[in-house]
Symmetry: C2
Subunit: 116 residues, 2 copies
């Protein structure tokens, strides 16, 4: 799951998320991406490399430009992993639900030693 590391890490940076949000509107060049940020062009190039390595964007060559776009299956792995968590959460919720139902009202004091 080495790649989940990269993908989540790539998503953890606000500049990179902003870049992705911009790319959600469609393909653009590096310069165009860099413009709204108070950051040098090399910094943006590095961010793009991180996004590319994470599998979040694709780049093609067009003359001297390198237009970027979202990778079609960008969030697939991440989605799968989060789905696991969500499933666990709803399972836990159901379990709690069952426990509460089984206990009925006002039968809360169980054998646990501590306070609650």
């Amino acid at each position: 799951m080495r790649n989940l590391d990269h993908t989540f890490a790539a998503l953890a940076d606000p500049t990179r998320r902003a870049i992705l949000a911009r790319l959600a509107l469609g393909e653009t060049t590096v310069m165009e991406l860099a413009q709204p940020f108070e950051m040098t062009q090399p910094a943006i190039s590095r961010h793009l490399k991180v996004l590319e390595d994470a599998g979040l964007i694709l780049r093609r060559v067009e003359g001297t430009k390198r237009p970027c776009r979202l990778a079609p299956d960008a969030t697939r792995e991440v989605d799968a992993w989060l789905a696991m968590l969500r499933k666990a959460l709803s399972a836990n919720y159901d379990r709690l639900d069952g426990v509460l139902a089984a206990m009925g009202p006002a039968k809360h004091a169980k054998k646990r030693k501590g306070r609650r």
Copy 2:
């Protein structure tokens, strides 16, 4: 969106994802969490703090123990953000679909200057 930073960053570490996967099975203590890892207890405590700050887990006090569990709405913000991306991706896909349909077969050479 400061918190998205924290949540994604927390998810970027394999140890922390393993901890979450373990918690998906149910609440446990710090020691129990630490056991499968080749890592000291303080290291695990720090990971737990990161997860807590990211809103991914909750902790309660039970005597000398601090049982952890998944936060019920752990992935909510993250899910929302990723949903935005997915939506954009499918929109882009539909758009491409439309373009291809409009072009019909074998009418690919458009006005763009470069090779393709």
